[in-house]
């Protein structure tokens, strides 16, 4: 089986903390895998290891069959990333930021295409030519979504991506993820939002103290069961 994302005994240890202990994870194309867990459970560490932002203490992360540590640039051609708090160049407009990050990813879009991406991400038309310094967090998040979508990556790594989005925008984002998933994009999303995980996820994984303690297909659980399962792990 060709996994688009794979972690093999992935371990990250800091001098005073074990951030991730022996993570084994396989994600297929088109799958939306939601990582649930409290702060410090290891969700962001997992995403950072797949991005190559930090080096594993042992084990290996693979993107599209390539080991992250050995191919730090190549794997990023296949990854798009939306952090919890998208930060952009404040003196550039939303349009200019999208143009810059798309160009860095190797895509040269016409202005109409860039406007289209921003429109589909939900950024109001009046904001696209305003400096990002004047944007709200939600508006920046939408530009971040446009940057990720415009990259046409095989994998989306999302770290609390709906943080700062209003319910309508969150809902639109969920629809977008469903659409991208249907097109074969794999998604690894770290979130606290159990209901969003149930809504868009194909599988959920619960992390606690750096360990992936449970993995379930979302189809096998309703939202309340998932919440109960999550709370059980958290209280134990």
């Amino acid at each position: 089986m060709n996994y688009i994302l794979e972690a093999r005994d992935l371990r990250k240890e800091y001098p005073n903390k074990l951030a991730l202990q022996g993570l084994n994870l396989q994600i297929e194309p088109g799958e939306v895998f939601c990582l649930l867990g409290q702060n410090g459970a290891g969700k962001s560490t997992t995403i950072n290891l797949f991005l190559g932002f930090i080096a594993p203490t042992s084990g290996a992360a693979f993107v599209n069959g390539m080991e992250v540590a050995a191919n730090p640039l190549k794997i990023k051609e296949h990854l798009a990333y939306i952090p919890e708090n998208v930060m952009l160049y404040p003196h550039l407009t939303g349009l200019e930021n999208l143009a810059l990050f798309s160009s860095l990813a190797g895509f040269k879009y016409k202005e109409a295409e860039l406007l289209d991406y921003l429109h589909h991400a939900g950024l109001p038309a009046e904001a696209v030519r305003r400096r990002v310094g004047t944007y709200s967090k939600g508006m920046r998040q939408k530009v971040g979504i446009a940057i990720a979508v415009a990259k046409h990556a095989k994998v989306l790594l999302l770290d609390e991506p709906t943080s700062g989005l209003d319910p309508k925008a969150s809902n639109e984002f969920s629809q977008l993820l469903t659409q991208l998933s249907a097109e074969g994009t794999a998604v690894l999303m770290a979130t606290h939002d159990i209901f969003r995980a149930k809504e868009v996820g194909t599988r959920v994984g619960i992390m606690r103290e750096g360990e992936l303690v449970d993995v379930r297909p979302t189809a096998a659980l309703n939202a309340q069961e998932l919440e109960q399962l999550y709370l059980t792990y958290m209280h134990n």
Binding site: M87, Y89, F101, L104
Partner: protein, 460 residues
């Protein structure tokens, strides 16, 4: 390369948006222009002053011709006649004044003892000397590093602190290319300014277009590169902008202020030189004692040096010029050791600084620019030796008149030796400085790259 140029072009947009930095660059440009104005004005003032000296000499001769209308005793002429040893600046001196403000650029000479004349200078405002020269070399050596620090202290840290770096490095972009593009843009801004000011300075000062143009540009380029290398090392530590700013300013303070001061103290302790005042006092005492000493004793000491005049008539008069000039001459000889020790001591200090200036590229750059402009200490010492030789020539011209009792006629004024000395660049020193700067640049860039390799850039 596509990514590099893309990031480079966006750096221009980021730079334009940072109004403070644009203003700082404009301010430095104006400061540099003022430095060029200051240097060229100062050199013009010195040149103007030097052009008046032959006229002063000519008037002095006219006055003497009136005072002594017929053939005169050469002793009178030697006593009253003033001539000058002049140190003409090279055109490059306007860009790097070096020691031309503290050392005399002409020496007023009579046939009297040389040493007290050699060190007699015009009074200078000590506060002005303390603050140093505000020439182009000063702007390049002392102020440009501050611009480099202002442009580079947050090379990556600002984007990390603003959270942009995570999104940037999530793209297929090498962190090395990001750092390289940022450094290259800043380097282009700084070198653009440095080269623009240098070219304006060269045109303004009307320097000859020879190999020194490239040497000057090479020195300023390598010096700026050194500071960018320091910025790279600090950036590679991946600390906060505040830490970087303090660290870079600390390095500036260390290399531009502390090391030169400590080096100055160390070199002064390693090579003590006799105080000039001691030399002057001893010479004066020797000369004044000459009045009371038996004339035969004075003349015998003098004849030991100049046996060719031994057969001249024994002095029986109360005063004769040849005796007067003999004890003036002996006054110089009495302090010859101190004078040589003083000049040697200065040269040794300079040589030691030359050996140790690898510790501070600021000193190295400054001394190299001074050497290139012919405004350094060795050039001044050469001028002093040239003035000494000129005084010897004056003595050689007047002594036959004095000892053979030949009268000095108006026609003899024209036969009197004259002096001129023009600074020559110390090219070997400048090229050595270039090599040392290259080494310094290599060291800091190697350290920065090794650090970056050892600690991959963390976007958070």
């Amino acid at each position: 390369m596509r990514i590099f140029w893309l990031l480079f072009s966006y750096e221009w947009r980021h730079f334009r948006a940072a109004k403070g930095l644009v203003l700082l660059c404009a301010l430095l440009l104006l400061t540099g222009l003022y430095g060029i104005y200051y240097g060229t004005t100062e050199m013009e003032r010195q040149r103007q002053h030097l052009t008046t000296l032959p006229e002063l000499s000519r008037r002095n001769v006219e006055e003497l011709k009136v005072k002594f209308p017929g053939p005169a005793d050469a002793g009178d002429i030697g006593y009253y006649h003033t001539t000058y040893a002049v140190h003409h600046p090279d055109a490059w001196a306007a860009l790097s004044l070096g020691q031309r403000d503290i050392n005399p650029y002409y020496v007023k000479l009579r046939l009297l003892g040389l040493q007290n004349q050699l060190y007699a200078t015009d009074n200078t405002n000590p506060m002005k000397v303390l603050s140093g020269n505000f020439d182009l070399a000063f702007v390049l050596v002392y102020l440009f590093p501050l611009l480099i620090i202002a442009l580079s202290f947050n090379l990556l840290s600002s984007e990390r602190e603003e959270g942009i770096l995570t999104l940037l490095l999530a793209q297929p972009v090498s962190p090395g290319v990001v750092v390289g593009a940022k450094l290259a843009f800043r380097l282009a801004v700084v070198l653009g300014l440095a080269w623009l000011l240098s070219v304006v300075g060269m045109l303004w000062a009307q320097v000859p277009l020879d190999g020194r143009v490239l040497t000057w540009l090479g020195l300023s380029t390598l010096y700026c590169l050194f500071w960018f290398g320091v910025a790279l090392v600090i950036t590679a530590l991946q600390r906060t902008s505040a830490f970087n700013a303090v660290a870079l300013l600390g390095v500036w303070l260390l290399l531009v202020v502390l090391v030169p001061s400590l080096l100055n103290l160390g070199v002064a302790a390693a090579h003590p030189v006799p105080q000039g005042i001691e030399l002057t006092i001893k010479q004066r005492e020797e000369i004044h004692a000459g009045w009371d000493r038996p004339k035969t004793q004075t003349m015998n000491r003098f004849f030991a040096l100049y046996p060719q005049w031994r057969d001249t008539a024994t002095i029986r008069e109360r005063f004769v010029w040849r005796w007067y000039y003999a004890f003036q001459h002996l006054g110089d000889l009495a302090v010859a050791k101190q004078a040589a020790a003083y000049a040697n001591g200065l040269q040794q200090r300079y040589d030691l600084v030359e050996k140790l200036n690898l510790l501070s590229p600021a000193i190295n750059a400054q001394s190299s620019l001074n050497a290139l402009a012919g405004t350094d200490l060795p050039t001044h010492l050469k001028f002093q030796r040239s003035a000494t030789a000129y005084h010897d020539a004056l003595r050689a011209f007047y002594y036959p008149f004095l000892f053979r009792k030949v009268e000095f006629t108006h026609a003899d004024y024209a036969r009197e030796p004259t002096h001129t000395f023009t600074s020559q660049p110390e090219l070997s020193t400048a090229l050595r400085g270039l090599g040392k700067l290259l080494l310094s640049v290599g060291v800091v860039f190697a350290a920065g790259l090794l650090l970056l390799r050892a600690r991959p850039i963390n976007p958070r």
